[in-house]
Amino acid sequence: MVIVDSPVSGSYSLPMLPDAEKILLDQARAGHEQAFAQLVEAHSEKTVALAWRLTGQRADAEELAQEAFLRLFKSLATFRGESSVGTWLYRTTTRLAIDHLRRETLKRKIFFFRGNDADQFDPFELAVDPSASPQEQLLARETAGRMQQQLNRLPPRQKAVFVLRHMEGLPLKEIAVTLGLEEGTVKAHLHRAITTFRKEFQTAKEVSP
């Protein structure tokens, strides 16, 4: 897997000032372990959160985020700094997550594993309107649960496009660069994901009293 650190006009908010980041990068290249640790601390929250949204599992997310940082460490000597560390990590984590999801899908196919989707993914904390009635809150939780299951059933690339656009707020152009796809392909992936959600939403409406 080749990760290029070419510049991208970023919606990725920087957790540290570019100058401070550059100094830490130089120190890490010179072998200062603590400088690299500082970089990891600064980017850990965003990287783990992204991996969690993409994989749906917190434990896998931490593993993937650690792998992304390990790759950054190994690329320190060749890291040109044309993109920020955050953007580089963003791309690497997304690609690692897609590979991870593909492997998981394949594993399930090979071993004919048909477990309950709800058991395979951590339930996200749901923000339910506290002013709603208990019945409405229950209904909202049920719908959210169904949508989450639907999200986890999306094909890996489609899911990545949806997560990056809907949850991370990344423009489609940047998603295309991140995933190495044509913008038109990214648009098609997003639309297919949205169609899936709309169908599920309509089914949920028909089922609920």
């Binding site: 949204r53 949508m147 639309h191």
Partner: protein
């Protein structure tokens, strides 16, 4: 929303991904199409129902995470160091065997050049003698023929 309505544009409009001109055209379409307006409203409600995991790591968790990464970076160098050490040890052992072992010593001592030359000369002499013998045999045969 009927079959002729541009469904993909609805998605792109919601995410503000339409170029200005196309956006204006779609807004004009929305004004005239109550089905598309309903579809857009429903899409917005539907997307609100998708849970977004929020993560907050406290300083201690960040420190623990960084520590785990550092441990992995140290481990990633260990196999290389181990291979390097093993190769160096193997090289030293091979050198010791060659230098110290008597058989090794013998095989490594170069043959003296003058001795080698002498052996070649001996073989050449034998060849010359063989030629002489052949010539003698020919002479004897000629004698017999008269």
């Amino acid at each position: 929303m009927n079959k002729n309505c541009p469904q993909e544009l609805l998605t792109l409009y919601h995410y503000d991904e339409l170029p200005a001109g196309q956006r204006r055209e779609f807004e004009a379409h929305l004004r005239d199409c109550p089905e598309c307006r309903d579809a857009l409203a429903e899409l917005r409600i539907c997307l609100q129902d998708i849970p977004v995991p929020k993560l907050q790591l406290d300083p201690a968790q960040k420190l623990r995470f960084a520590d785990q990464v550092l441990r992995k970076t140290r481990r990633s160098y260990r196999p290389l160091a181990a291979w390097g050490g093993a190769l160096a040890a193997a090289g030293a052992l091979a050198l010791a065997v060659v230098v110290l072992h008597p058989a090794g010593k013998r095989s490594m001592v170069p043959a003296r050049p003058e001795l080698a030359d002498y052996e070649i000369l001996e073989q050449l002499d034998l060849l010359q003698e063989l030629d002489l013998l052949q010539e003698l045999e020919l002479l004897e045969e000629l004698d017999q023929l008269g």
